[in-house]
């Protein structure tokens, strides 16, 4: 029984870490993968989501609805930022990095000024369940499930809807899409808004497990960024999934073997190492392999 509990505990932590990384990174990867902009204010959009969730919850809104409010609020905030500032920096990668970092500073400091350094708390819902003597939170499993649901939804939106087709065409070749009558301006705003809304939802969901302060977002941006670049831009979904599976694996193992700090460092180290081997991320490597296998398959039948 001891061993079974041990195995379950590992699996539980692994899926918890996966869910955590997916939620942190999913909004950022949309914006980076589709628009090539790394949004350094992503963590602050999550923080906005967390605040909206906390305030709504304390105003009597049920937690799931509060999280949806968070998504809407952060999405609107993202669209405003895109229109006012970020659209001027699409073709300048490094400048966009710097300007979004400036925005992140403004948002977190603005919240500090308005709400003060006080910490907000929202109770974690759903309670616990026991496995041979140890207790595990149900909400963590909900996080994992939601993470998968979000990835699936985004995939469906970008694959099956007219907006998705237009968005992919715009990212492929903006001028051509424009010539074909796609309103590329709206596509950029909406894509950025969706990325921001996903950040807001993630922030809202984390709000139910973490303490909320104006500096809530600071730690998420580097983490989300690492997840994104390890995944690479060739295929957003496979990139994200392969990346979180690898990184969460390293983190979970080292966490248990040594401690949390070393686990975090090991994850960063693993990310660095993967980048050195595959400078364009795992997804590009997978795409290349897929093409090669397809070609070999065709060669064999011909």
């Amino acid at each position: 029984m001891e061993a079974a509990a041990e195995v379950f505990s590992y699996a539980y932590q692994y899926f918890d870490n996966i869910g955590f990384l997916i939620l942190s990174a999913s909004g950022l990867i949309i914006i980076f993968g589709m628009m090539g902009v790394i949004n350094m204010a992503h963590g602050e959009l999550m923080m906005i989501g967390a605040y909206i969730t906390a305030f709504s919850y304390h105003a009597g809104v049920p937690a799931p609805i509060a999280v949806i409010f968070a998504g809407i609020g952060a999405g609107v905030a993202g669209m405003i930022l895109e229109r006012l500032v970020i659209r001027h920096f699409y073709k300048q990668l490094l400048s966009s990095l710097v300007v979004t970092w400036g925005l992140s500073l403004m948002i977190s400091q603005g919240f500090l000024l308005v709400f003060g350094p006080t910490i907000l708390n929202v109770p974690t819902p759903f309670g616990n369940f026991p496995v041979s003597g140890q207790t595990f939170g149900i909400y963590r499993l909900v996080l994992f499930g939601s993470a998968l649901a979000i990835v699936a939804t985004v995939w469906a939106v970008f694959t099956f809807t007219k907006f998705g087709t237009h968005a992919r065409a715009t990212m492929e070749d903006p001028d051509m899409a424009d010539a074909l009558g796609v309103n590329t301006r709206n596509i950029y705003v909406l894509t950025f808004g969706i990325g921001a809304a996903m950040g807001g939802i993630a922030g809202g969901m984390f709000a139910l497990t973490a303490t909320i302060s104006p500096f809530f977002g600071i730690n998420y941006t580097p983490l989300a960024f690492i997840t994104v670049v390890v995944g690479g831009g060739a295929n957003v979904i496979t990139g994200l999934l392969s990346s979180v599976m690898a990184l969460a694996g390293v983190q979970t193992a080292v966490n248990n073997l040594v401690n949390v700090y070393v686990g975090y460092v090991a994850m960063m180290g693993a990310a660095f190492f993967i980048l050195l081997l595959l400078p364009r991320g795992i997804s590009e490597y997978l795409e290349r392999r897929k093409i090669r296998t397809e070609r070999n398959g065709r060669g064999a039948t011909a």
Binding site: I291, E294, R295, R298
Partner: protein, 247 residues
């Protein structure tokens, strides 16, 4: 395969490929190519869009890595060498896309390649000579982005000439030039060739290729379709069918 073909001779080849292949996502851009540029010639490469011409130049320079096959420069295998090491062995390139430093002055643009083989105090004089040759006299202090399209093309060619190459690869040097500018470009190239530089040039402008009147290779689907003197190529019916007839 066209009737006009000549056996490419290994003797005297300064750039030579063996079974060179480059595959992009299942498309064979360059397909088992055996090709040679002889020392001291001007060699024109023509062919329909997508024939693999630009890819070939990128493979020569090392910007792209071949899927298979080898590239030799002056008798040495350079297939695995980085671009800057090939440049140090005497290879220079002007890509199809305008490759000048848009935000810098003409002098700054030329200083960087000239510095490869010249001391800083020799550079102003060499720069002025080069600019005279390129009909760009007295543009030293101008920002390159403000120059006309043709002038930028000449500057891009001049930057590649400035490293004193043995072999110069020019990808569409006359794109966007007026007929008069095109003629001047041909004259500059001949002058350069007479001073001992081997030149390979990709062109779509048949008037320009006719003006150069030199050994020409027709590429088609990444393979040599025809090779020989331009006059013979121009008379060849198969070449007309795949390419020239369309113009």
């Amino acid at each position: 395969m066209s009737a006009v073909t000549e056996k490419s001779t290994a003797a005297g080849a300064i750039v030579e490929t063996r079974a060179l292949t480059k595959i992009f996502g299942g498309v064979r851009a360059v397909d088992g190519l055996d090709f040679a540029i002889s020392d001291g010639e001007i060699h024109c490469i023509i062919g329909p869009n997508g024939a693999g011409k630009s890819t070939l130049f990128k493979l020569f320079m090392g910007i792209e890595r071949p899927t298979a096959g080898t590239i030799a420069l002056d008798g040495h295998d350079v297939t695995r060498l980085a671009p800057h090491l090939r440049a140090r062995r005497g290879l220079a390139i002007k890509f199809q896309a305008m490759q000048v430093y848009q935000d810098l002055t003409v002098y700054q643009n030329l200083f960087i390649p000239l510095r490869r083989h010249h001391r800083p105090r020799e550079i102003p004089e060499r720069c002025a000579e080069l600019l005279a040759q390129l009909q760009l006299t007295d543009t030293e202090e101008r920002i390159v982005g403000d120059l006309s399209h043709g002038q930028q093309q000449w500057l891009a060619i001049g930057m590649s000439m400035a490293v004193d190459p043995k072999v110069l690869l020019l990808d569409e040097p006359t794109a966007g030039m007026s007929p008069e500018e095109t003629r001047q470009t041909a004259a500059i190239m001949r002058q350069l060739n007479e001073s001992g530089v081997t030149i390979a040039v990709i062109e779509h402008d048949m008037a320009f290729v006719r003006d150069l009147d030199t050994r020409t290779t027709v590429l088609h689907y990444g393979k040599v379709f025809a090779q020989g003197a331009f006059a013979d190529i121009e008379r060849d019916e198969d070449v007309h069918r795949i390419y020239l007839g369309k113009i």
